[in-house]
């Protein structure tokens, strides 16, 4: 029989898989939209940027003159491109989805930040990526929001769903659930549901190391990347110590670790000043706090904020340990929340709350 902790671990594992699938979906749509099926290679001159920082105009309906960070920017040529945003953790309740769907209208603007001399393009399509299990609800809701006048797109807008299917081979499929694209040929392909070989996506050298995008990953996933990142950056002396005594204490500053993580797992492309800060320092700091709770790292001096000493030693099934630890914390938080709500519903007994 499953315990509440088992269920929490399973839920957290699902969240990790959902995050990984979303990154794969972004890689898949980037691959598909720039793929030249005649040449069987990416179209020459196309550029892909994950999480590029763009600027909206005064006329933006949602976010005037602000910096926005679409999950994916595909520059097809000097005149056109595609902006894609992944929304995977969408609620099953329409009202809760509403604001997240309306938000995507901020990309329906003459955005600045494209890889052209003027940093603008004549036209671009906007793609909303959702998981297959939500695509019909989202498509229906977009239609309703459009009818009521709350949702309006002047540019081509498409809802594209993704899913993983296995039939001998594992494929990542993309399919058009609503709307249209500027590129009619690609639109037609997506209408037919496009299967992309998972191995091809996973092994594509251009995107193979991309693990993080603009949304925070579940902490166990980030912890796993951090332990790998630290392992890859040991000095020869640290490695010798590890070989001699079986462990080595590695002092690491969060800002340095954040830079390593960005280099190893963040979006890597020619982005210059428009490069996104992925991961931000706060994600890494939070994950390091979890390592401290687990006893894998220490904060040697509370005044030296952001300095940790990570103990590098052989660990068995690290990801499972991260999952269990984070699920335990999540469970405790939820239990406290439920308890607090119970007290609120019993005002006559409120004086007993702290006893």
């Amino acid at each position: 029989m499953s315990t509440p902790l088992d269920n929490a671990v399973r839920k957290m594992h699902d969240e990790c898989n959902s995050y990984t699938d979303t990154v794969m979906a972004l890689r898949a749509i980037a691959h598909e939209l720039r793929w030249d099926s005649k040449a069987k290679a990416p179209k020459l001159g196309t550029e892909v940027s994950f999480g590029r920082r763009m600027q909206t105009t005064d006329g933006n309906r949602v976010s005037k003159s602000r910096e926005v960070t679409p999950d994916l920017v595909i520059q097809l040529d000097n005149r056109s491109g595609v902006i894609a945003e992944a929304k995977t953790a969408l609620s099953s309740i329409a009202e809760r989805r509403r604001s997240r769907l309306l938000e995507i209208q901020k990309y329906d603007d003459n955005l600045k930040g494209w890889l052209t001399p003027t940093e603008t393009v004549e036209s671009h399509s906007i793609v909303l990526l959702v998981h297959l299990h939500r695509d019909q609800e989202v498509a229906q809701q977009i239609t309703e929001l459009t009818t009521e006048g709350a949702f309006k797109m002047d540019r081509s807008f498409a809802v594209v769903s993704f899913a993983v299917i296995t039939q001998g081979k594992t494929y990542f499929t993309l399919s058009l659930a609503h709307g249209s694209l500027l590129d009619r040929e690609k639109e037609a392909r997506l209408r037919r549901r496009t299967p992309i070989d998972m191995e091809h996506l996973a092994g594509n050298p251009e995107f193979a190391t991309l693990k993080l995008y603009d949304a925070p990953p579940p902490v166990p996933l980030l912890m796993d990347l951090i332990q790998q990142c630290i392992a890859s950056r040991l000095t020869p002396e640290q490695r010798d110590t590890f070989k001699d005594i079986g462990y080595v204490d590695v002092p690491v500053r969060v800002e340095v670790l954040t830079r390593w993580m960005a280099e190893d797992y963040g979006p890597r492309c020619r982005q210059g000043a428009r490069a996104p800060e992925i991961p931000p320092r706060s994600w890494v700091h939070d994950a390091m706090d979890r390592f401290v709770e687990l006893g894998w790292a220490k904060e040697p001096d509370s005044k030296a904020y952001g300095l940790f000493v990570y103990t590098y030693k052989r660990r068995v099934k690290p990801f499972e340990k991260f999952l269990k630890h984070c699920a335990q914390i999540q469970l405790e938080l939820e239990q406290k929340k439920v308890a607090a709500e119970s007290w609120e519903s019993l005002p006559l007994f409120a004086h007993l709350k702290d006893q």
């Binding site: 296995t166 790998q228 190893d264 990801f319």
Partner: protein, 242 residues
């Protein structure tokens, strides 16, 4: 006494059956007189019994066969080689054992055995080393990783028991840790080799291959060891460019 072909500070390379065959064929061609014969070999193969808990069995065969015949036998039996004892017959007498991990022992004429046999095998092993070099994002020279693939002649993973067996095998890989993200319907795991900080993503997303994607650091020693571990403990396949 056990000897290693390659200096200890060099990369450890493992001989796949194909490399043994290539080396021995080269040695036979270069022999002026006599022939190279196999007197004993240790091979591994799959256990074809659904009740078996172990996936792989080891056999030791004492024989006397021409080197080329050994590879025909192994191929027909779908087995792979762990080590073999070879002798020369009809020419300069020498004998010794060549192990899969590029170590050897010699019981007759070490100078001749080293010069004529070991060095020839080492040449082939060093070519294999080049294949494993420069695959991580920091060593490829382009900033991009160079994934590789272990391909099988049959659809190994159509049998649903095989992916869990591979996961178990990966769990036993030297000083390493495996993070299993997904076990079904496809396999996605992260591997960290503590001995030198090499890291990988491993995918099984088709029925006949294992994809290995090196990350920031992946030394030739580590990749070679990982591929050999899979080939020797799970099933020997062909290691190819992905």
């Amino acid at each position: 006494m056990l000897h290693r072909f390659l200096a200890p500070d060099l990369v450890r390379i493992y001989l796949q059956t194909k490399l043994y065959a290539k080396s021995f064929a080269g040695i036979s061609r270069r022999m002026n007189r006599g022939s190279l014969r196999v007197m004993e070999y240790v091979s591994k193969g799959l256990i074809d019994d659904s009740d078996a808990k172990r996936g792989v069995q080891t056999s030791i065969v004492h024989t006397d066969m021409a080197q080329a015949e050994l590879f025909e036998v192994l191929s027909a039996q779908r087995k792979w080689l762990s080590s073999c004892v070879v002798v020369t017959r009809g020419g300069e007498p020498m004998s010794g054992r060549i192990m899969r991990d590029c170590t050897f022992t010699c019981d007759r004429n070490i100078a001749g055995f080293f010069g004529s046999i070991v060095q020839e095998v080492a040449k082939t092993a060093l070519v294999a080393k080049d294949f494993y070099d420069g695959r991580s994002s920091t060593t490829s020279g382009t900033g991009l990783v160079r994934p590789l693939r272990i391909t099988y002649a049959r659809r190994v993973f159509e049998d649903t028991r095989e992916a869990p067996r591979l996961i178990k095998v990966l769990d036993d890989w030297r000083e390493s840790a495996m993070s299993l993200f997904n076990a079904s319907p496809y396999v996605h795991a992260g591997l960290l080799d503590y001995s030198d900080g090499s890291t990988y993503d491993l995918w099984v997303a088709s029925s006949d291959s294992v994809l290995i994607v090196p990350k920031t650091v992946a030394t030739a020693d580590s990749i070679s060891s990982l591929c050999d571990h899979i080939c020797n403990r799970f099933e020997e396949g062909e290691v190819l460019e992905a």
